[in-house]
């Protein structure tokens, strides 16, 4: 993303102009734009004219519109899939990018759109978007900064395979895109071993074809090509791809697989086992700096803590807020989903928590809910914390209750005293 302009007043209101460049930037915009913001971008609007004779004609004009946002929607890049009998070549083109739609009412009138008219903006790549907020909080500003770092992020391409299934996945800083899913039914060996072998061979062929189409193996941003599976399928797949690339003389593929290919054992053929991939030493060594690796490691630390010392791993907004109050939080895990709350007060609350932790020298990791680790955090209410010292939830809740009761007691006393005097 390119930062085109930024003007923020001392009171936190102001506007930022951005130029999105890829899918990842769309995700950033989706997380930045909130209900109630004013967004200005180019739009195509259908204008209807009624002539003096009563006939109507309509035409489309390209114009700049400013909307007050009522709804934002994010559509991720589309996943195609190959079932067994359909032809791998006939599936939809893979180059469908992510997009966002912003609905709202026009706030600045122009000749084509009246004040208050409804419109839905399709945000496009390489077209400037101006976002005006009444309050730019620290989380939003950090995101703008993060989004505009040039040359950011390594990408990882992964093929997660199981017997007869494969998922082709691209991981970037904030997004997990499942490019393609392949299912091919392989007769099990109890039917007949020749049928089994035939089915296996067909599976490899389909996988190779899909790999060529869906994995941009030649792209320089791809740092690692992961082949993950339980059992030994990854080895067979790896060997098959090398063999086929040699047979067909595809030197680029051969080089890419040799140089970047990593085979990693995971325990299940589902996409969510990517978490295991990101935890594996082979990957963490290469991608330590990237966001998704960090998310994976932090979440893993949280779960381990939950196992070893339950009192130092808390989750749920209320509990975490209590822990922050007591200055106990060493690492705060929070999902970006919470900041997308439509209620500004809600968002403010979470921003407050993040700032409180940072002020006390704690670490804050904001998870992207387009990654598996973020999805898991979302399942866990979206917020969790690793504490620096053990605290018992029940004791703390008890303390809170007592404090509240004591407060009420005080007040009642004060009231009684007031009446007396």
């Amino acid at each position: 993303m390119k930062l085109v302009g930024k003007y923020i007043n001392k009171d936190g209101s102001g506007h930022v102009s951005l130029r999105p460049e890829d899918d990842e930037d769309m995700w950033h915009l989706y997380n930045l734009i909130q209900e109630g913001d004013k967004v200005r971008a180019t739009a195509i609007r259908r204008v209807q004219n009624v002539s003096s004779t009563g006939s109507t004609d309509s035409h489309r004009v390209r114009t700049n519109l400013t909307l007050e946002v009522t709804r934002v929607e994010f559509t991720p890049a589309i996943t195609s899939s190959t079932a067994d009998t359909t032809n791998a070549a006939s599936t939809t083109a893979a180059d469908v990018t992510a997009s966002i739609q912003i609905s709202g009412r026009v706030t600045v009138e122009n000749p084509h759109a009246k004040m208050g008219a409804h419109h839905t903006l399709d945000i496009e790549v390489n077209r400037d978007v101006r976002i005006e907020k009444e309050q730019w909080d620290s989380v939003a500003l950090n995101r703008v900064e993060e989004a505009c770092v040039p040359g950011r992020g390594a990408e990882v391409a992964a093929v997660v395979c199981g017997e007869g299934t494969a998922a082709f996945v691209l991981l970037s800083e904030h997004l997990t895109t499942i490019r393609h899913r392949l299912t091919s039914s392989i007769p099990r060996k109890s039917s007949s071993s020749t049928l089994h072998e035939k089915g296996l061979n067909r599976y490899y062929q389909q996988l190779y074809a899909a790999f060529l189409r869906h994995i941009p193996y030649g792209s320089p941003t791809i740092k690692v090509l992961v082949f993950a599976s339980p059992g030994w399928i990854r080895d067979s797949v790896y060997d098959y791809i090398l063999k086929e690339s040699e047979r067909t003389g595809n030197k680029a593929l051969m080089r890419a697989v040799r140089e970047k290919g990593v085979r990693i054992h995971v325990s299940s053929p589902h996409v969510h086992s990517l978490v295991e991939v990101l935890k594996s030493p082979e990957i963490t060594a290469q991608l330590k700096e990237t966001k998704f690796a960090k998310e994976g490691i932090t979440l893993d630390r949280f779960f381990k803590m939950l196992g070893s010392d339950e009192m130092r791993a808390w989750y749920g907004p209320d509990h975490v807020a209590l822990a922050i109050d007591r200055g106990a939080v060493g690492t705060l895990l929070i999902s970006d989903q919470l900041f997308r709350a439509s209620d500004p007060a809600e968002r403010k609350k979470y921003v407050g928590l993040v700032e409180a932790v940072k002020d006390k020298g704690g670490e804050v990791v904001i998870f992207s809910s387009m990654h598996e680790s973020g999805q898991q955090l979302n399942q866990l209410t979206g917020i969790a914390a690793i504490l620096t010292f053990p605290l018992d939830v029940e004791v703390v809740e008890q303390e809170e209750r007592e404090a509240k009761e004591a407060e009420e007691e005080e007040r009642r006393k004060a009231e009684v005293a007031g009446e007396d005097s």
Binding site: P76, D84, T85, P187, S192, H270, E372, Q375, Q379
Partner: protein, 484 residues
């Protein structure tokens, strides 16, 4: 896409013209006949299915290969071919296992990767053998086999250090036993194998018994339903008899039954033939002629040739052309039998492993959210709400999450100890809500695909689930209620 030509689909043309096989009997008459046949078999040979389990390299496949040979199911010619083949690749010790490990990769690696199905007969039993893989990566395959079994044969390796490796935490001896128990298997025969590696010492056999017995009891196997037998699979000692020079060392101290004697008294569970038909598919392949073959086990009810069956999930139905049981064509198959159905009038894309066939009038419910009562195993990391897990149900293996922890229960009485617990620790019994996860993160196909599922009260076999996480079985349970 050259390879796709291999996929020679001939389903479109010839199927249409063929006359559908007639339903031979009315349902009442069929039930009557089935009941009679089952009663008759009470006196003759009774059918029972047996899953062979144990730690990797305990010798499960070898034991089965040898047993099949001893019982005359493998002829001399096959044996010699296997022996020659395995010697040729320098894996002579796998020669017996080759009979069951049929695929090239299994033979190369010397490891079973998928269930092998065989049948054998003892004087009083007709036994369907399911040889499970022992390696932990293939537990999904083992589960799909175990959900088709009535009894289990556990093979343990008696050689020094090997028994311990399989039995300690993370070993498959332990995990397999817990898995089969949670899938409803209550009878187990423990074959203590490779005693020849420790010179047939009685002390070693007793030591293993001493460790196994408390664990079996604790896992819920009644003492009267467990039995132990020392064997030497490779040399065929104490499988059918204790003759020959290899067996003398054992005969000195062991006078109990042989393996076959024990298998011959396995008690088949009662069959419920009046229940609605459920047939979970565990394998699909193209059979001879235009029919597609599906393998599996009848879990309740009865199926006959000529019946039209609904395939769930989905809107398709198919016609049963013929039924194969123990390599013979039969007119019908009842609850508990492992059969191959040959189906016509259906596009094979609708036949998936994990789908359930049932009669069109009595459909199995489909579920994406359900509650279950689970028992948490010996887990290293406690289970939190929202934990992402893999759900195993029959041959299904789908991503899911523990969406809500409803309550922890007292293991003995079932009384609620605590509502909405924060975590479930090991050994806990709890009520949880499980939600299937969609395969996409968001967007149009974000809704998960439902799976066919029934409450435990309605159908025991279709109501059992297993929950695994990162290659570790964390809980087993029964379905209480289907929410949606």
């Amino acid at each position: 896409m050259a390879g796709l030509n291999l996929n020679d689909d001939e389903t479109e043309g010839p199927v249409v013209d063929e006359e559908p096989p007639k339903v031979t009997m009315a349902r009442e008459k069929l039930l009557e006949e089935a009941r009679k046949a089952i009663e008759a078999s009470e006196k003759g040979k009774r059918g029972v299915s047996l899953i062979v389990i144990g730690h990797v390299d305990a010798g499960k496949s070898t034991l089965m290969g040898r047993l099949l040979y001893e019982l005359g199911r493998i002829d001399e010619k096959r044996r010699v071919a296997n022996e020659r083949g395995s010697n040729k690749v320098g894996k002579g010790s796998f020669s017996w296992a080759w009979e069951l490990d049929g695929t090239q990769e299994e033979r190369e690696r010397g490891i079973t990767m998928d269930i092998a199905q065989q049948s054998l007969s003892t004087p009083h039993r007709q036994i369907t053998i399911l040889d499970a893989p022992g390696h932990k990566d293939f537990i999904p395959n083992m589960i799909s086999g175990a959900s088709q079994a009535d009894c289990a044969l556990l093979v343990v390796d008696a050689s020094t250090g090997e028994f311990e490796a399989g039995f300690e935490r993370g070993g498959q001896t332990r995990e397999h036993l817990l898995l089969v128990r949670s899938l409803g298997v209550s009878q187990v025969v423990v074959a203590v194998n490779k005693l020849d590696m420790v010179q047939w010492e009685q002390s070693r056999y007793d030591e293993i018994l001493g460790q196994m017995q408390p664990f079996l009891l604790q896992s819920g196997f009644q003492q009267s339903k467990t039995s132990f037998v020392p064997v030497g699979a490779m040399s065929g000692v104490n499988l059918v008899n204790r003759e020959g020079p290899d067996a003398t060392a054992l005969s000195r101290w062991y006078t109990g039954p042989t393996l076959v004697d024990l298998l011959d008294v396995l008690e088949p569970p009662s069959r419920n033939i009046t229940a609605p038909l459920r047939f979970p598919i565990s394998n699909v392949f193209k059979g001879q002629s235009a029919a597609y073959a599906v393998q599996g086990r009848v879990c309740g009810g009865i199926v006959q040739v000529g019946e039209r069956l609904r395939i769930l999930p989905g809107d398709e139905s198919a016609l049963v052309k013929y039924i194969e049981h123990e390599e013979e064509n039969v007119e019908w198959a009842a609850d508990g039998s492992n059969v191959t159905l040959y189906l016509t009038g259906v596009d094979p894309v609708h036949l998936n492993v994990g789908s359930v066939l049932c009669s069109p009038s009595d459909l199995i419910p489909l579920a994406t959210v359900f509650t279950a009562r689970v028992l948490v195993f010996d887990v290293s990391v406690p289970v939190t709400a929202g934990a992402s897990v893999e759900l195993f149900h029959q041959a299904h293996d789908v991503p899911a999450s523990m969406s809500k922890l409803l309550a922890t229960l007292d293991r003995a009485t079932g009384a609620v100890i605590r509502k909405n617990p924060r975590v479930l620790t090991k050994g806990a019994s709890a009520e949880v809500q499980i939600t299937l996860r969609s395969s996409a993160y968001s967007g149009p196909n974000a809704r998960p695909r439902p799976i066919p599922l029934e409450t435990f009260a309605a159908n025991k076999e279709m109501g059992r689930v297993l929950i695994r996480r990162e290659g570790e079985t964390i809980a087993a349970g029964v379905v209480l209620e289907i929410v949606s």
